[in-house]
Symmetry: D2
Subunit: 370 residues, 4 copies
C-alpha cells in the first residue's frame, strides 16, 4: 500500500489504470512562476504515444493532457499540479482470460495474489506500461524547469535492441534521436534495428533493449548521500518503468572488470574549471554530481506479450494450459521508453536540484499585475 | 541535506564519519519482542571488519557494537534502536594532502565542493566505505527479524573479481561462502581470485568485482508499485554502498539481448504451489515478489585507492600535480562488501514485509513478567 | 513547496483551487476489497456543500464526486484512488480587487507574497475553504474503512457558537447532529444559535465557534510516539482546515488549571476490560489511544469575510484604503466544518490503524470471480 | 512503529530511554558551516536539567552533551549530527511496581499494552519527560541556525500555573525569563507562583500550566499549506512534549467567541513595510507566516506523579489496588518545559525556513583552509 509517491521536494503522485477512466499525476512542489501549459505536456506525450509506428502497439489513443490544477494565466502557481490523460481506446475483452490464466512474464499473477483478486485486471490495470503516462506528465514539467532555471538538458536514446547496438553517438544524433521510430541516434544502426524488429513481428516474438540517458550541464554538488545520492534515487525511479531489469552508471558493469588505474577519472582543468579526463563514473561520485554529464543505462527485458503460444496455469482449475496473447504489441520496449526515461531522469534531477537549493520557490520577479 | 534516512517502516538513520568518534545507526520501526543483543550485531560486523585477511585494508579496528537504546532484557522494545561502533585506529595524517589534491576516483573533490570545504575530510569522512557499518548494524537486525518471523534467508557472495567469475553455485557453497577470504562459494575459483589479487597488490593496482545476492522464502506479494516496488527500493539501497556502479535483477542486462519467448518465466505447479520454471525475473515481477528467490547482482568499480601515482589538480594552486595514495587498501571491494550487500537487501525486505502487513508490531505473546 | 500530502500509510494528496477546474484528492494506501462507490463520497460532500441553509454561503455548487481511479466493480483495488469535484458556480469578478487590496483576516496578502504574485487569486484559490473538499473525499473513504474493519465511529458537532455552548450531549443528539443547520446535538441550544446567527447576518458580521469530535471504539495502542503520536498527527491534520486557531484533547486548556489529583484518570474494570473512570486525557495517553473515546475540540476563528467595510492597504499604491467584501458568506465556520472535522479525524485514525497493523492490505476473502 | 522522526529538511531523530544508557538525537539536514560545539547544546540542556530548583524533580543528572558526529573543527559539516546525553542518576527500583500497577495519568498501561510488555518500563522508559532531551539537543542547533542566518529569536515563558497568570509581558521580562525558577517574565507573578507551588508540594499534589512562545523576525512566507502549514507542523511538534493537552495560536480558543470585525488583523504600513494592527492570527495566516511575531500557547496538564495515594488496577490480579508514587517530582511541568517549547518551535521554524529556500546548504564562504 501507498507506494505511488516519488520524491521529496518535487513530488510525483501517480494514479490511474490502463483501461480505467484515465492515467494521471499530481506534482507537488513545483516552484511558482514557470511558464507551462498543456502543449508542454502534449509534446512529450506524443513521443510516448502508441500507434505512431509499425513497431508500436496500435492502440489508438489521442492521449490528450488536461491540466486540472496548479497552473494559472500560463504560469505554475506553486500549488499542486494535477494532470490527467483520459483513456479512450479501451477493449478489455481478452483480459478476463488472463486473470484466470496469467500471461507468462506479465504481472497478472502477482497482481491477483497481492490484491486478493480485487485488482483492476483490465489491460493489466495498474501494471500496464500505460502508467508511465504519469512519468511523462511529471517529466514534461521537470524537463522545462531544469532547462529554464539551470540550463540542464536531458537526452535518452535507444542504445541497443538485442545484439544491435550503437557505439558512437554524435551531438547531432542526440538532437535528432526522435527522427526515426526506433529512437536511435545513428541512422545506419537505426535501419538495422527496424529490419530486425520487422522480422521479429513476423515471428510473433519480442526482444530486449538498452536505453541510455545523458544529462548535460548538471552543476556539481547535487545528490544527498548516503541514502539519497543521485545514483540511488535515479535507479529507484528508473526501475519503476515496467520492464527494467538493470541500471548502470558510467562504466557500469564493465567497471567490475576494470583496474583502478584505468577506471579512476583524473581531474583536469578545462576552460578554467575542473573537469575530468574520462567519465567512467558517469558524472556521479559518492552519490554527488561532479560536473560531468550524467550517464545512465537502462536494460529492458523483452515485452512479455508475444503472439507465440505459451504454457501457463489456470488459476481456477490449477491445470497447465496454453495462453495466447491477442492483439499486436510493442516488439521492443526501448524505443517507446526513450521519452519515459528522459522524463524519469529529469524528475529526479529536479527533485535534487530543489533539495540542494538551486531552484528557488518563485521563479523570476513578481508576475505582471493581472 | 537530509539524505541519511532509508525506508518507511523499518527506517534506518545513518551517522558518523571514518575518523570521527564513531559510526552508527538508529533503526526506527523494529517490532517489539525480537530477541536481540550485541552479539547479534557483532557477528556481522566481524565479517565486514578490516584487517582480517591480506586482501583487506589492514586498519586495526576492533569494531565493537554498543547498543545505546531500544533493547531491554534481551528483547527489542519497539523503541528506536541506536547502535554505535567507536573508531579506534585513526590516523588522519595523509588526508589533509588529499583535501588539497583530491585523489582520482574518490569523492574528495565533490565533497569539498558540495559542503564548501566544511566536510570532515579525515579518512574520507562521510564518503568512506566505513559508513557501511550503518548498513551492517541495521542489517543484523533485519536479517534476524526476517528469519525469525518469515523464515527468509539472505545470502550474498563474490560472483566475480575482474574476469574471474563463478558460474554454478551450490547450496553448500552458499552456506560456506565466508570460509575463504574472497567470499566465493566455489573454492576452486576462490583460489584463482586470491592468486589474482596477490599479483594486483604487488603492482599496487585494484580491480572491480560483482557481488550476487539471493533471498530465499520471500512470500509472494511484497513490494508496492509503482514507485516503491522491490527492485526500485533494493536498487536505491544498494547504490548507497560506496563503489556500486550497476544493479541488475534476474537476467538483468542479459535480458536486453533475449527474446520474449526465452525470457518469460512460465508458471508451473510444484508441491501444490505455483512456482516458475525459470527465474529470469529474479523473483520480482511488476515490482512485486512472485515467490521465487530474489536474485540481484551488484557491480563494484575498482577501489579508487591505488599505490600507483596518479595525476590530479592542486585545488589551491590550480596546477596539475601527482598524488600518491599512502597506506595499504582493499584491492577489490567485492569480498568485504558481501556482508554489506546481505545487510542492505535484508533491510529493504524487512521494510517491505512490515509495509505489507507480514510482520506484526509485537512478536510473540506478552514477554514473561520481569 | 510540496506540502499537500498527509499521512504515511493512508496518504492523502490534495489538489485544486476554489475557482479552477476542480478540487480533488488522491488517496494512496487504501486496502483492496473495501466496498466503495461515488455515493459513499457524495453523502459526505452533501453535508459539506454550500447553499443548503441560510447560514451558509449561497454558492450554488452541485459538488458531484467523480472517481477517476482505484475502484473497480464496486471495490477498492489497492491502487491509488483519485476523486475530483468539478467547480461550477464560479464568479471571480471581485477577487482581482482583493489581489490588490487584501481582505483583512484572509490569506490574500501572504499568498501573493509567498508565491510572488503567481498564485491563483480567484476565489481565494488554494487558500479557500473549498479545498476541504479534499478532506471530505478522503474522509469518506476513511470513515467507511474504520467502520468496516474496526467498528470505529466518528462524530463531530458544533459545541459552541460565540458564547452559546452545548454542555451535555446525548447519544441520540450525536446521531441526529445533522438534523439542524447548525449541527448542534441539542435542539434547544441549536435554536439559540440559529437566532444569534440571523442577527449577525443582519449586521454583516461573523462569529467564531468550537467543534468537538468524538471517536468511539478506537482500540488501545494506536499512535506512534514520540513524534507520530495521535495528538500530534490529529492536531496537525485539524490545523489544515482553514480557520482553526486551537486544538485541545480531553480536558485540554482546562487541565492547565487542574490538580493532578483531579486530572488523573483512574483505571477501573468494566465488563471484564480495563477502562477509565474519567476521560480527562481524551482517550490518548503518551500519544497512544487508551481504549476510551477520543475527544478533541477545535476552535474556529470567525470567518474573515464580513460585509462591514474594513481598512486595508492597496498593494500597488501602498495607501490605506477601505475594502468591502462582496457577496454573502458563512457567518460561522463551525456548522459547515462539522463533516470536515469528522473526515479529518477519520483520516488520521485510518492512517494509524494501518501503521499499527490493525487493517490488512486486503479486506475479506478473494473477491468473487468476475 | 517508526514514529521517532520529525521534519522533512531539518530532520530530528529521537532515541533513548529514561533509565537506559542515554537519550539522544540525530539531526539530518543541518547546513554545513554553522559554528557549533558542545557548549551550544549544554547551555540549553542546563536550562532543562532537573534538580536545579526546589520545584523540579531532584534527580541528579549532570546531563552532559556528547557530540558523536557531524561537527568538525568547530563547524557543522553537512553530515548528520548525532548527540547523546548519558543517564547517570538511575534508580529503577520502584518502577517494576508500576509495570504491574500502572500509575493513573501515566503511560504505564498503554505502553505495556501497545508493546506487549516488552517496553522498557524503567523510569517510564520512552514515555518519560526525559526524552525531551532530544528536543533540546536538536533545538539548540535550530536556535543557533535561525539566529545566525535569519536573525529569528525564539522565547518561551510560563504564562500561567493553575489560576495564576501573567498578562502583560515586557521585552525585558522576556530576556530575563530564566532569572526565576518558574520562568515567568513578571517577577511579582513569579513570586506568587513559587508560593503556590510550595503549598502544593506540601500537599503532594500537582498543577497544570500554560507556556507561551513567541518567535520574532520570522520572514513572511514560511509554511507550506495545506497540510504542512506552520500551525500544522508546530502543533504536531509541540504535542510530542509529554503532558501537552492543547495548542493555540494568536487569539486561539478565545477567537471562537470573537466577531470577525474584532478578530481580523488589519494591515498597516510601519517603517515602509506592511505589518498588522493586531496579531490575533498569531503571525500565521493560511498556514503561512505573515511577518508578525508567531505566538503560540501550550496547555500542560498537571504532572501525573503525585504523592497522594491513588486507586489503580493490578494487571496480574485484575483487582483494584492503591498505588503510591515514590520520590519527589515536578509539581508543575510548565517551568521546566520552557526551554523545551523554545527548542521545539525553533526546530519547526528551521525545517520550514530550509524548505522555503531561506537557508542555503552551505553557510558563509569556504571555510578557512585547514
Amino acid at each position: 500500500m501507498s507506494g505511488n509517491i516519488l520524491g521529496k521536494r518535487f513530488v510525483v503522485v501517480s494514479f490511474g489504470e490502463s483501461h480505467g477512466k484515465c492515467v494521471g499525476a499530481v506534482i507537488d512542489g513545483c516552484p511558482a512562476g514557470l511558464p507551462f501549459n498543456e502543449q508542454d505536456v502534449q509534446r512529450h506525450l506524443d513521443l510516448r504515444k502508441p500507434g505512431t509506428s509499425e513497431y508500436y502497439t496500435p492502440r489508438l489513443e489521442p492521449d490528450r493532457a488536461e491540466i486540472l490544477s496548479g497552473v494559472f494565466n500560463g504560469y505554475t502557481t506553486g500549488a499542486p499540479i494535477a494532470i490527467i490523460v483520459r483513456n479512450k481506446d479501451v477493449d478489455s475483452g481478452h483480459y478476463l482470460e488472463y486473470y484466470h490464466r496469467p500471461r507468462p512474464g506479465h504481472a497478472d499473477y502477482v497482481a491477483r495474489a497481492k490484491y486478493g483478486g480485487f485488482n483492476d485486471w483490465r489491460g493489466g490495470g495498474r501494471f500496464s506500461g500505460r502508467v508511465t503516462i504519469s512519468h511523462v506528465i511529471a517529466g514534461s514539467l521537470a524537463i522545462k524547469l531544469l532547462k529554464h532555471v539551470l540550463g540542464i538538458k536531458v537526452y535518452a536514446y535507444t542504445k541497443s535492441i538485442g545484439d544491435i547496438a550503437v557505439n558512437e553517438v554524435t551531438h547531432k544524433g542526440l538532437e535528432e534521436r526522435y527522427s526515426n521510430p526506433v529512437r536511435c541516434p545513428d541512422p545506419v544502426i537505426a535501419k538495422k534495428m527496424e529490419e530486425f524488429l520487422r522480422g521479429l513481428i513476423m515471428r510473433g516474438d519480442s526482444i530486449g533493449g538498452v536505453v541510455e540517458a545523458v544529462a548535460f550541464n548538471v552543476p556539481i554538488g547535487i545528490g544527498e548521500p548516503i541514502f539519497d545520492g543521485l545514483e540511488q534515487d535515479i535507479s529507484k525511479a528508473l526501475f519503476s518503468i515496467p520492464g527494467v531489469k538493470g541500471v548502470e552508471f558510467g562504466a557500469g558493469f564493465t567497471s567490475s572488470r576494470m583496474r583502478g588505474s584505468e577506471f579512476n577519472d583524473k581531474p583536469i582543468i578545462r576552460g578554467g574549471a575542473i573537469k575530468f579526463e574520462s567519465n567512467n563514473s558517469g558524472g556521479i561520485v559518492g552519490g554527488v554530481s561532479n560536473g560531468m554529464p550524467i550517464v545512465v543505462r537502462v536494460a529492458f527485458r523483452p515485452p512479455s506479450s508475444i503472439r507465440i503460444p505459451q504454457r501457463t496455469i489456470d488459476l481456477e482449475t490449477f491445470e497447465e494450459v496454453e495462453v495466447r496473447v491477442k492483439g499486436r504489441h510493442d516488439p521492443c520496449i526501448a524505443p517507446r521508453a526513450v521519452p519515459i526515461v528522459e522524463s524519469t531522469l529529469a524528475i529526479v534531477l529536479a527533485d535534487h536540484a530543489i533539495r540542494y537549493g538551486l531552484i528557488p520557490p518563485v521563479l523570476g520577479k513578481e508576475h505582471g499585475k493581472p
